[in-house]
Assembly symmetry: C2
Homo-oligomer: 340 residues x 2
DNA sequence: CTGAAAGCGCTTACAG
DNA sequence: CTGAAAGCGCTTACAG
């Protein structure tokens, strides 16, 4: 039709178009597209494949999803994409999903309950087939979500309402390892810096650290600070620590970002790490070997999370009982081992 | 039906269920859901709303998208999610899309042409309504994509095949600013470190820097290195630089990540920045103020990109001529201005 | 003010 | 070996 201006894009080719071009029925094309080649003659198959090729046909996933009742779309809800840890998990999940033939919708809840609920509803509307949750502050919507038994894998932080599919590390153990490390460096009364906004991760790391220190015969002072960005948390917590006490021999930071923030305050006050104060944290971000060689950190294999998350999703979809995947953590024996 | 075990999740409520509950037709419910309240009686509206409420109905976007021909899903293709710059752009785009009622499918192409093409096809299958491209290495699929006139906004890097909707900064100008800065610090023959894998961003920054330096009467040596991670690029480029020449007074790094990488090599060789060598780069990552106070960087407002990207997408959908958005860049006058 | 019907693109028994 | 028909959940002229 001349005179008709299309805004943009080109009309996608439908099954009907292919069928017309190949002079067969829609059903036949559909079967061939879906690999049911044993139910058609050689010539038909070739004719249909030719038409598909020349027309550039690709099945519309909306139609398929509507009919089949499975969308091959997975939603990932993350607490804060600007946190490199979350970005790494998102990236590894995305790669694993793609390899399995799924696509990922990404949602950033900023750790806000209302936003989390909004996204949970929106994703249900999208008819996503599964959920990856790296957020889960408590919220009414999440409670209902869990009660409905939606197919979800929790990563890093546990489901706050029930047990179930989870990918993470032994955070209690990692906290204990950090205590051992400081102890071995001679710190008997270290401080621990942590965020006011808690989560199972934070609680576990904190508990593991304190308990181990107690076992060893030490004790720790605590400093917390509010904020979504752990950089700010570390800076402010370190400030409140130094404002009320003298510098401890060692500081445990519950995440690498907290360590970065604390380090900056130390730096501003002329304190050197580790010369004036030993610092340990948990995460083991790659970036530290580049920019924070002064930091010792328990390494968490975040780049492996995606694979296990997708494995667990598969188990859930197949109706298998789906458990936890606790991945190994370890100190980086040598920072330079991170290079290859 | 007793005995039937559902794997997980609960059956979503459809328009038909609501209609039955409210004892009206599907059409009527649909109209009310879509706000066409002026075509129904008060009682009907209330009855329907009641049913929607108690049943927890939410429209299935698949059905809606299929019928309307618009999915309210946007695909974002990014070159490397683990790069904080990309993560920031992704995060800002996600927020802007949500505010406009869209959801974002995220794809990580790892800057590989085949993967880029695979994603481009997969997204077409998903019937996404628009594209945000922060990747665009050249590839056959991207060329066809552009030729088809698909609704897309390019961010950071330009469309390699045509002009059109773009959000970014004046990279030539930013490169020139970096040259001015080094010049003002007395560097007459600085080195520039850049990745072997190029893009419009890299080319423009490089051209702006060299040209300006020439104008000023200086000259620069160049060092490049391969790799997807600019951390590696910076490290290797710095090595090749130092292995063949003496330390220049100043070094220009085409991205913050390159600067981090170069700094590490300098550090390993006992060289101090900026005492032994001034370093400047482009990006102005927030992280630098925490971990790399030795770095001076041209600040790019990546967190603003999302807003403009979504604006441009809207223009494209409305059929308006859609142009470029060149956002302002500037040196961080004072690193501490980043705190509030 | 309300509903029956067609159709978006697809899959899948069912019939031939 | 192949096709007509029903239906996934929705919207929207059209008729009443």
């Amino acid at each position: 039709m001349t005179g008709v201006r299309r805004k943009s894009g080109s009309v996608p080719v439908s099954l009907a178009t292919v069928a017309a071009a190949a002079e067969v029925s829609i059903s036949t094309v559909s079967r061939i597209v879906n690999g049911q080649t044993h139910r058609a003659s050689r010539e038909t198959i070739e004719r249909v494949r030719g038409a598909i090729e020349t027309l550039g046909y690709r099945p519309n996933q909306l139609g398929r999803a509507l009919k089949r009742g499975e969308s091959r779309v997975v939603a990932m809800l993350t607490a804060n994409l600007n946190n490199p840890v979350m970005a790494t998990v998102a990236s590894s999940a995305e790669a694993a999903l793609r390899a399995a033939g799924y696509v990922m919708i990404l949602c950033d809840t900023h750790d806000r309950p209302e936003l989390q609920d909004e996204y949970l509803k929106a994703m249900r509307s999208q008819a996503v087939q599964g959920y990856i949750l790296v957020t889960n502050v408590k919220s009414p919507g999440l409670a209902e979500f869990v009660a409905r038994g939606e197919p979800a894998v929790f990563a890093c932080r546990r489901n706050p309402y029930a047990s179930g599919a989870f990918v993470g590390i032994d955070n209690v153990g990692a906290g204990a390892d950090a205590a051992d490390y400081l102890w071995s460096r001679g710190c008997r009364e270290p401080a621990v810096l942590f965020p006011a906004q808690s989560s199972s991760t934070i609680e576990d790391r904190l508990a593991g650290f304190s308990m181990r220190l107690l076992e060893l015969g030490g004790r720790c002072s605590k400093a917390e600070a509010p904020g979504l960005s752990h950089l700010d948390v570390g800076y402010e917590a370190a400030r409140s620590l130094l404002d009320r006490a003298s510098l401890p021999q060692g500081v445990m930071c519950l995440s690498d970002q907290i360590a970065y923030g604390a380090h900056r305050l130390f730096f501003e006050r002329g304190l050197r790490v580790p010369d004036d104060c030993v610092m340990v944290s948990i995460d083991g971000s790659t970036l530290s070997s580049w920019l924070a060689p002064w930091l010792t950190s328990v390494r968490v294999p975040y780049h492996e999370f995606g694979r296990h998350i997708v494995d667990l999703l598969g188990e859930i979809w197949r109706g298998e009982a789906s458990g936890e995947r606790i991945l190994p953590h370890a100190f980086q024996s040598d920072v330079s081992s991170d290079f290859e």
